[in-house]
């Protein structure tokens, strides 16, 4: 394992659309990029047994999550010719309709950006120790499970 610094991916609360816009804008001086791919995960108002989800409260095992994410990052950079990769995941409460996951890949051409973005999202869901507690409108809760 290299001794480079492990990047943090966690943001407290929702991911602000303004932050997403600014992240895109920061790439305008990288002139060899030909395509960006973005995935935005949004909290959905699922109905479970007649109760509506109002928010998701995210927790993590941060040290393990960041090591796992670092491995995913390394694998993806080896597999695809990417110029950039940015990943942010919420912690704490994110309300229905707000953004909780932001994956952003850029490449000289569109295909590696799109494929890498999709693969990162799948791996985040399967491999990162993050837990979502679905909070219902009546303040009861249940634990989300990824399908």
């Amino acid at each position: 394992m290299s001794d480079r610094k492990v990047k943090d991916i966690f943001i407290n609360g929702k991911i602000d659309p303004m932050f997403i816009g600014e992240s895109i804008a920061k790439h305008s001086d990288k002139k060899n990029i030909g395509g960006h791919s973005l995935f935005l995960g949004q909290v959905r108002n699922d109905e479970i047994d007649g109760k509506m989800v109002a928010a998701i409260d995210y927790t993590t095992y941060k040290e393990l999550a960041l090591t796992q994410m670092d491995q995913i990052r390394e694998d993806i950079f080896k597999k695809y010719p990417l110029s950039c990769m940015h990943i942010y995941h919420s912690l704490g409460t994110v309300k229905v309709g707000e953004i909780c996951l932001f994956v952003f890949t850029s490449s000289i051409r569109r295909k590696p950006a799109i494929e890498a973005c999709s693969e990162i999202v799948e791996r985040i869901k399967a491999e990162l120790p993050i837990w979502g507690k679905e909070i219902f409108e009546d303040e009861t809760h249940q634990w989300k499970e990824n399908s």
């Binding site: 995210y58 095992y61 996951l101 120790p129 507690k133 634990w143 499970e145 990824n146």
Partner: protein
């Protein structure tokens, strides 16, 4: 021997983080049996272990001072 147990998600609702003094437990498989007896709801849940911040798939030997994380299925994203 002393083992630190940390738990997450729905498991944290019935099993608090704690230092356990366990005698006669040498492996993660034995620790799982012990925990499932102490905390019966655990027996009905699918969960993974991480030993000292590394996810383990198979039974591993434990030593004093180890930290074992008990993790229910992930649900990020």
């Amino acid at each position: 021997m002393e083992i630190e147990i940390i738990s997450f998600g729905k498991i944290a609702e019935f099993m608090a983080n704690q230092r356990l003094t366990v005698d006669g437990i040498k492996t993660t498989a034995q620790l799982k049996d012990f925990l499932e007896q102490e905390f019966p709801p655990l027996a009905g849940i699918k969960y993974k272990l991480a030993l000292n911040k590394t996810i383990i798939q198979e039974t591993v030997e434990l030593k004093s001072g180890d930290t074992v994380a008990i993790m229910p299925p992930f649900s990020g994203g």
